[in-house]
Subunit: 565 residues, 2 copies
């Protein structure tokens, strides 16, 4: 591809005034708070003000199980949102905010790519309007108040060995994963082992993303459990008198950010919770605005449909009350070839040579993963649409293979070239999505609140992941019992497992059967409102590589950014 | 005082549109980037664009040696800037940004007070435009790249025991002062002892405040010394290839923030470096804009004149090339009574009863401190003006006493009631300052670059602090030699000592004589461009109190902030 870089495309985009973008969405200027020249916050009063406008169709973009190189889910979501204007409709996009740690680590950016990106990409990838930093600040305020409570006499009788609350920073810094704090004598606090996670992994981020209003945010912050007292009762942020200050710190951050795509399509950028230990979806408040701001609200859910879409249906929509009308399953030729099990893809290394040769049979050999993810969407009463994210290196026979698999499953499908062609490259997809949305949605959650946590885990493992059952470790069993005792049993579950396989073993490709999900331990994000079983090694603080992206990022003689990919 | 709270006054202020404020300053709208509805960033292109406009008089607001309760320096600076409009002139104010740690710790806010405050105070005290967070992010990016360098083979041969670079967070968190990072095995980095400072204490903050342009910022970041290699050579951020990414992270933060006072006087809010281990002044770029944006540019320097003003003259003006025309020395009755040595003031406890009784003799008994701080201003060829910051509990005889002391020193003086009366309460002060500024300034730095570091410390200690000499510990002597060897000998010095005394002993009031300054150790902020000897116990990470302000801060049923003092 002899294409300009993402940064070049972003910089050459003619931005529409955000007031025009907002006007198109039916949002009055009085609800806009400009932040710099390329982003604006939208007051939450807009939620009510837009309430009488027609409801948009609600479309979630998910994917097959990705390779370590990703599937192009964000670019497809951007492309689809842009494509609606090419079929005479108005699309609105809602996506997560990029995390700065990975921006300077390995990725270099997370705003889509090519002619399907959110602009200006440097604003999205850097501080934007500071929401990520507000989460860092609110989280660490609670950490400081917790340790201060211990230091000042521990009136709540907190068990220092039962503290689960850590600290966060939006930096890839492996040395902060496990630390000892409070050294140097009594004046410096009480020594104990703890650590830092990346800000995207903060429960505060998940809380912000799942809140439906400022008052709901305040209540959820108060419910955050930081640990347990010596009688094994949960200790909350409310008990530490920290939730009010945290809410004040997040008072601006709860307002969604308005940006635009390279084709001036409206984009709501808001929140960025992790996709494994959290639900991996952008905010509910953004969707509450977007759902009345166009004909189609397109949003993206992290990782494959077994993870992001499952949480979208069972955690996000459960909280928001919004009903999805269609779900896109993005797939690439590379993905299905990888699911054939014949190739091993390692991030940062070139693809195996043979994988680049024409190979429709390899695509068919990996079809089971796509079939299973299609079924996973239908499990929730929602109709899938397959989006083939075309690469210039693909062969038509390979695209045909994917279209054939979709047809066999009676699923609408389209080949998309939005990265090089922008919205018009996804016009077929937009038409397929529109047709699907014209049919009534039978959306429902997969399980009832009233089921036990164990039953909920088992339901997802067997129905969504294709496991034979679950193996709960003694530690996890005790934790599940404790959580039920503490009254957290009615919460949905967010299973933290590898995103590189439908199973918990990242090396198993396709749609593995005959395996059981090992539940090693279970944690609870009570404020956010879910319990998360840990099934595998979850890294909540990335490290930098030998050659971090940060080494290449700089300003030039004119003060312009270089090296942001 | 039956006055509304700062938050109430702030909320009841009718804000002028920032475009109007900017227009008054001669700043075209194209240079403004709105951030929310109450603050805007000013593009650095404005520095050049304003260059042809007349130069304002440049006034620094300093003080006597404060008590732990402060002297009201910020309110006086705000009041003075406002007062110019009451004498037919245009004032512009340049102040530091508040640190969030103390806001939620003990102070509750740092935007001035009463009818002399910067509004909206909640914006100033919370994230404002995110500059503080950008400093946190840039600083910790360097920390992560440093530890990553050790982890990936340490090609620069850095001595892990000679690393001076720590991490920062804008939270009062004593437990982070001394920590061990890198625990949990090889994948988590290399264990070593380190810690966190509060963001205001970051060298990156000092770098940002002292930079004159984006390119100068880039160069200074590169010169930051993070530690030493095994051959005792300095290791810089440039060598770690981190300075470019840091500069990109700070690309928006280098733009000053425009706000206003309760009387709609323009305010440039920018940077907040510590006043002991750093120079404690707002940014140079803000002053480069403000100096062409009105008749008088008023700025504030941290702590007493021996500290903030000395650094303003010898570090900030040395870097900026701007020449100060006058220096205000703020003093309260309470301050001079305290300097009589008869009373002990403890933060958080009520004042001694007898101190509140009418006591002009006590004021005279504390006069030496005011006399010495007046002399300290004149040491730099600048003419002082005494501002008596009046409290409703003061007696006229006490104000007369201060006016008499000033008259004895042939210094212009005025009693100010700006907290209750706004700008008109400081009109007399404005007139006195204006008269002073009409005389030519003989400003000069106190010492030459070419002097040794030891000579520079001795000069400040004997001439400004009134010491008989300095006692350099063996450790400090070695460090001074090393810094001279490394080529840092030409830098100015920033002496970190108690701000509660002219001496290094916080219990010594008045103007102590017959003492020697003990130099315990010496550190270098090479990027910022100063060496800082440590003369006493310097706390660079505050802790929370037993009843932190955060416990009282919350949102009410309408979503409005309560408890921010």
């Amino acid at each position: 591809m002899n294409m300009p870089t993402n940064l070049e495309i972003s910089r050459n985009t003619r931005l529409a005034p955000l007031t025009d973008i907002a006007a198109e969405m039916g949002i009055e200027e009085k609800f806009l708070e400009p932040y710099g020249r390329s982003a604006a916050k939208i007051s939450l009063e807009a939620v009510k003000a837009l309430g009488d406008r027609p409801r948009a169709k609600y479309v979630v973009v998910s994917a097959v199980t990705p390779t370590p190189l990703g599937t192009g889910k964000t670019t497809t979501a951007v492309g689809l949102a842009q494509a609606f204007s090419h079929i005479g409709k108005r699309g609105v996009l809602a996506v997560r905010q990029a995390s700065m740690g990975p921006t300077f680590g390995i990725k270099g950016g997370a705003a889509g790519g090519g002619y399907s990106q959110v602009v200006p990409m440097e604003a999205l990838n850097l501080h934007l309007t500071g929401d990520m930093h507000a989460v860092t600040e609110a989280h660490n305020m609670l950490s400081a108040m917790l340790d201060n409570h211990l230091h000042k006499g521990n009136a709540l009788n907190i068990d220092p060995f039962a503290i689960t609350w850590r600290r966060v920073l939006d930096v890839n810094d492996r040395d902060l994963r496990q630390i000892v704090t409070g050294l140097g004598g009594k004046a410096n606090g009480i020594p104990r082992q703890t650590g830092f996670d990346i800000t995207a992994a903060s429960e505060v981020m998940a809380v912000l993303a799942l809140s439906t209003s400022l008052q709901d945010l305040r209540a959820r912050l108060g419910r955050i459990v930081v640990g347990y007292d010596r009688d094994k009762n949960p200790v909350t942020a409310e008990m530490l008198k920290a939730a009010g200050a945290m809410c004040v710190i997040l008072r601006e951050a709860i307002k969604p950010n308005l940006m635009q795509t390279v084709e001036n399509t409206p984009v709501l950028v808001h929140c960025g919770p992790f996709g494994n230990i959290a639900h991996g979806n952008s905010s509910i408040v953004a969707d509450l605005i977007g759902i009345h701001a166009g004909d189609y609200l397109v949003t993206e859910a992290g990782f494959g449909a077994d993870m992001g879409a499952e949480r979208f249906f069972n955690i996000k929509c459960r909280n928001s009350g919004l009903v999805p009308d269609a779900a896109v399953v993005v797939v690439t030729v590379r993905d299905l070839k990888s699911h054939s099990g014949k190739y091993k893809i390692v991030a940062g290394k070139p693809l195996p040579e043979e994988m680049l040769a024409e190979g429709p049979d390899d695509v068919f050999a990996g079809a089971d993963n796509l079939r299973k993810q299609i079924a996973n969407i239908r499990l929730h009463g929602v109709e899938p649409v397959v989006a083939v994210n075309a690469f210039p290196t693909d062969f038509p026979s390979e695209h045909d293979a994917i279209m054939k698999i979709a047809a066999d499953e009676s699923v609408r499908a389209a080949v998309c070239t939005h990265v090089v062609d922008g919205g018009k490259g996804a016009a077929d997809l937009a038409r397929a999505v529109a047709e699907t949305c014209d049919e009534p949605s039978s959306y429902h959650t997969l399980y009832e609140d009233s089921m036990t946590l164990r039953q909920k885990i088992e339901t997802i493992a067997t129905k969504v992941y294709g496991a034979n059952g679950i193996d709960v470790s003694p530690v996890a069993a005790k934790q599940l019992d404790d959580y039920e005792r503490c009254g957290f049993g009615n919460l949905p579950v967010c299973i933290a497992k590898s995103h590189l396989s439908l199973s918990s073993d990242p090396t198993l490709k396709g749609a593995p059967t005959g395996w059981r999900l090992p539940v090693r331990e279970v944690r609870a994000s009570v404020g956010a409102g879910f319990v998360y079983p840990i099934c595998g090694n979850m890294q909540t603080m990335p490290g930098l590589s030998s050659f971090p992206a940060a080494e290449r990022i700089d300003i030039d003689a004119d003060g312009e950014i270089v090296g942001l990919a």
